[in-house]
């Protein structure tokens, strides 16, 4: 042990937790090894620094509880407003989608059937108009033929 470096030993556990035998061996080695002596010295100072730091104690201030409760209420208010905002946004989205649906339905109800009716009417109309075309074609033919007939009758008399 005396010839072995003790650095790993002082890094494995805190100095305070080392056994009496380990400490004796460490000191015996550090006496003749300057590297380990400096490492031991640094470990001892580190230990002392950490102990002094741990000895510092803080107590809560008299206003601490009031401050935490105020922070809690503030956080809850933020959460509530956030929840309300989220609800509002959700409701807005729902309302817009409903309006869009109603508009789409209205369009489907009124515009598309109209088109179909118009197209049906158109097609019917076109059938009528086909007849009309025929009739129209027929009537002038008739009128012409009547005129021609009259002209033929009376013109003939004159």
């Amino acid at each position: 042990m005396k010839d072995e470096h003790i650095i790993s030993l002082i890094e494995n556990a805190s100095l305070a937790s080392l056994s009496e035998n380990d400490l004796k061996a460490i000191y015996a080695h550090a006496k003749d090894c300057s590297t380990c002596f400096q490492a031991l010295q640094a470990a001892q100072v580190s230990q002392l620094l950490l102990k002094e730091r741990a000895a510092l104690e803080f107590e809560p201030s008299p206003f601490f509880h009031t401050r935490v409760l105020a922070a809690l209420r503030e956080r809850q208010a933020v959460n509530d407003s956030w929840a309300f905002g989220r609800l509002w946004r959700t409701a807005g989205a729902l309302a817009s989608s409903m309006v869009a649906t109603v508009a789409a339905l209205a369009f489907l109800t009124f515009a598309i059937p109209d088109t179909q009716v118009v197209s049906q009417v158109g097609s019917v109309g076109s059938s009528y108009s086909a007849e009309e075309v025929i009739l129209d074609q027929a009537s002038p033919t008739e009128e012409v033929s009547e005129g021609q007939l009259l002209t033929t009758i009376y013109g003939g008399d004159e």
Binding site: A39, L48, E52, L56, F58, P60, L69
Partner: protein, 200 residues
């Protein structure tokens, strides 16, 4: 448990009672990780805000003190992780009091002598400065094991780490701290030699 149930149901006075009972303990514990009072207060406040939101997860199996200590450990660790790490510390970064403390302790480091309150504050301040150059996890294990004499098992339970992780972390942290202090002590030795040479 009754208090926790009432607080969970929105009884503010029950939560206030929890704070009144446990805030001294939370403050003392958070004070091990931060030297500035404002940071300790910030950590303690965060602990109770978290505790309030997580009251539902407290089933009353363990003590409330243990439950709050776990929350405090994790809150302090998160705050340490969020704080900026300082660059390596050199002797010229230290105050005269801190250099003087190191110089005195070079000669009597082998025995942990009782120090005056003023000197203890200098040491605590110096410890804080050295720790700030190290990663948050190192700061945590050193403070708990070497500072507070907590066992590896305790640290593992409080942090949720495995015992082997705590051991490895503590080993590395001790090495980093020792190396940082060794550099400062070497600087102090050099300074002492220079002063001795100038006098002769």
């Amino acid at each position: 448990m009754e208090l926790a149930r009432s607080a969970r149901e929105g009884d503010e006075s029950a939560f206030e009672e929890i704070m009144r009972r446990y805030s001294p303990r939370v403050f003392r514990y958070a004070g091990k990780f931060f030297k500035q009072r404002s940071l300790v207060e910030e950590a303690a406040q965060e602990v109770f805000l978290k505790a309030f939101t997580e009251l539902g997860s407290y089933e009353g199996r363990g003590s409330m003190e243990g439950w709050l200590t776990r929350i405090t450990t994790n809150t302090c660790l998160n705050l340490l992780r969020n704080s900026k790490r300082r660059p390596e510390l050199t002797l010229s970064d230290l105050t005269e009091d801190q250099t003087d403390w190191l110089d005195k302790n070079l000669t009597r480091a082998a025995t942990q002598q009782h120090q005056s309150t003023e000197r203890s504050l200098v040491a605590a301040d110096l410890a804080e400065r050295v720790l700030q150059t190290m990663p948050a996890d190192d700061q945590l294990v050193l403070t708990m094991i070497d500072g507070e004499d907590a066992s590896v098992k305790d640290v593992a339970e409080l942090t949720g780490w495995s015992e082997s992780k705590v051991k490895v972390q503590a080993f590395r942290a001790r090495r980093r701290m020792r190396e940082a202090v060794e550099k400062l002590l070497a600087g102090t030795r050099g300074r002492r030699q220079n002063l001795g040479g100038a006098r002769s």
